[in-house]
Symmetry: C2
Subunit: 423 residues, 2 copies
Amino acid sequence: MNIPQQKVPRVVIVGCGFGGLQLAKSLKNAPVQVVLIDKNNYHTFQPLLYQVATAGLEADSIAYPIRKIFKGQTNFHFRWGEVQQIVADKNLLRTTVGDLPYDYLIIATGTTTNYFGNTAIEQHAMPMKSVTEALNLRSMILQNFEQALLSDNIKEQEALMTFAVVGGGPTGVELAGALCELKKHVLPNDYPELDFRKMRVLLIESGPEVLQAMSAPNQQKARTYLEELGCEVWLNTKVAGYDGSIVNFQDGKSLHTKNLLWAAGIKGVTIPGLNADALNNRGRYVIDEYCRVKRYENIYALGDVAAMSSEKFPNGHPQVAPVAIQMAELVARNIQKLLKQQTPDKFEYFDKGAMATVGRNRAVVEAFNIRFGGFAGWFVWMALHLMLLVGFRNKIVVFINWLWNYINYDRNIRLIIRPYQKA
Amino acid sequence: MNIPQQKVPRVVIVGCGFGGLQLAKSLKNAPVQVVLIDKNNYHTFQPLLYQVATAGLEADSIAYPIRKIFKGQTNFHFRWGEVQQIVADKNLLRTTVGDLPYDYLIIATGTTTNYFGNTAIEQHAMPMKSVTEALNLRSMILQNFEQALLSDNIKEQEALMTFAVVGGGPTGVELAGALCELKKHVLPNDYPELDFRKMRVLLIESGPEVLQAMSAPNQQKARTYLEELGCEVWLNTKVAGYDGSIVNFQDGKSLHTKNLLWAAGIKGVTIPGLNADALNNRGRYVIDEYCRVKRYENIYALGDVAAMSSEKFPNGHPQVAPVAIQMAELVARNIQKLLKQQTPDKFEYFDKGAMATVGRNRAVVEAFNIRFGGFAGWFVWMALHLMLLVGFRNKIVVFINWLWNYINYDRNIRLIIRPYQKA
């Protein structure tokens, strides 16, 4: 790969999610060369993907060009490509855009959708882990309403207008809430010819309650919010199969729907080449308290793709942005310490709490033993997400869209720019 | 097709460009049923496509959902589909979403890119007539810079960084100007490793001057603006062929480029089924002064796809939005007159002038025998385009983007969301 050779050590970062981005930034003044490689040329603000999928936001306002983020950082180099293999004994990364030798390698590849080996579900359900997938989902939702309009078969119409979201984590809850708001405020204006009593939004959760990472009162509050918005919440319900038209559940029930939105699981995006025991049984890199991958000196992993066992989190920390960001800060600091022959620091997680929004004036927040919801929760959720969005222009554009949507009970981006056809 | 049968006459409009949109709106209070069919579920504000292609605007801010435009217009029905054939003796339109009987049919299908039969150019050049094509062009421009970075072959690098825009009409001029601004202000920050003296922007025009529809002083002014921005303007130069790497010109010259942007011609989008003499030799429907297609009583055509011969415009009016809008207003009025057995009006074109922008503070405007340019022209161009954009939210978002780009010399949307691979 055509990258200038320098006398300083080269730090290669794979992935520009919250972790990779923070790490590259934190190394700005370090005496290293930073090479970041990502399969996209932009950073994705994943927490708002569901709003892209439900026509509330432009894709472009939650994606930010990587080169622009690092404008002026002279030790930074970006390459747009995919990694193929780590050749650890040669300190070499093989990629679609050439071989890349490294002194330090940091794997910050995040996660992808996990179908738990069910290929039928993988084939027919819609995931929502990337901008492209969110856009496909947006197209599909709208296409199915257009299709419903053409049909005079009531069963088919109902299947086209039924949305089953699988997975009661924050993504599933937020997506189901947004679909309910589309049903309540937006789509009936677009399709006056359709009977919207036929539109159903279901949230399917295999466990006993939604938002399992939260406290019981907030779990119940979130479920109540969903039900107030008209969402049917099916708890303790496991999906067994899906053929594109009928979902079968493990308890023998079934549901006729053309829209199975899969937010039920994630798995690490791993790179071939490391020892088998570098990965745990959930597909996450086993890292020590310095974020080093097991049995490697100069290969690190951080964020969602990594699992550091600790007293509080024996199977690894929660797969959320703050963990990735804090790990990235640690790794940046430690690389600089190692270069100065100093003792590196161990990771300590500072838990900033958790939140999820269900809809207009409805969110649940918990942080530092405080717990709240309703309008206050929703307001805090919005303010925090605006703060965390990369780029001032994006903050303004998202803010205007939110203000607009709030005042007008609207979602403007109901565009089918590239019609979606499931393969 | 599943559209309610009503006792009032049915007006079927094909295409929701400026003409179709205006016609459906103008029929709001008419005693007719309006059915609009379009292959997209949104109206495209074509004059700003070049800004989507050059990373200045989101696709979503120049596209507007058709159903939202007509919210509350009770005599309006939209169907998302493509038309296949007109069966005139049965008053029937065949479409991909079913058959549609009509009382009045209005063809407002606009134009598409014309390669004048040169399939090699069609295969390798990039058009820019739709949102999807503009997004593809944006991806390709950015992909080629990423590619240039990987190459250590200087000839290949130069070909990747050379942009040849063919066609000196407003689209070509605006696109070339925007590319020059990317070269001047934006891309060098993104690619500090590349030598931007290698980046070339060329505007290739077969005639003796750019903007042939304008007055000579404005033509020269526009060309001067382009040259000030660093664009090489090649006049009297005809493209003979292109194989994806080398453009051959009719005078024997050639140019090594991976980017041939084709804005050199348009042709009408016609529907099979009418008499051969309904079309002229430029692929436009021959219409009388009432916009009726030759030899048909109840089939109309308007806008870019139609050609009304008049003293001033023997081959049809200019293919610009004001003509389409004015024709649409006439047809809406005349349909209502005909229903009341009144005499329909003849078309009279009110020429509002023409304008084109080259870049920051540089535009040419002429209207009502006034002619100006520079900052004033550019300001008027912006104000008018903002006014004409559909939707208040879109106006705000575009305004903020323009303000941002103006202050920061920036183009924010440099995202490769769907990488483009020419087939």
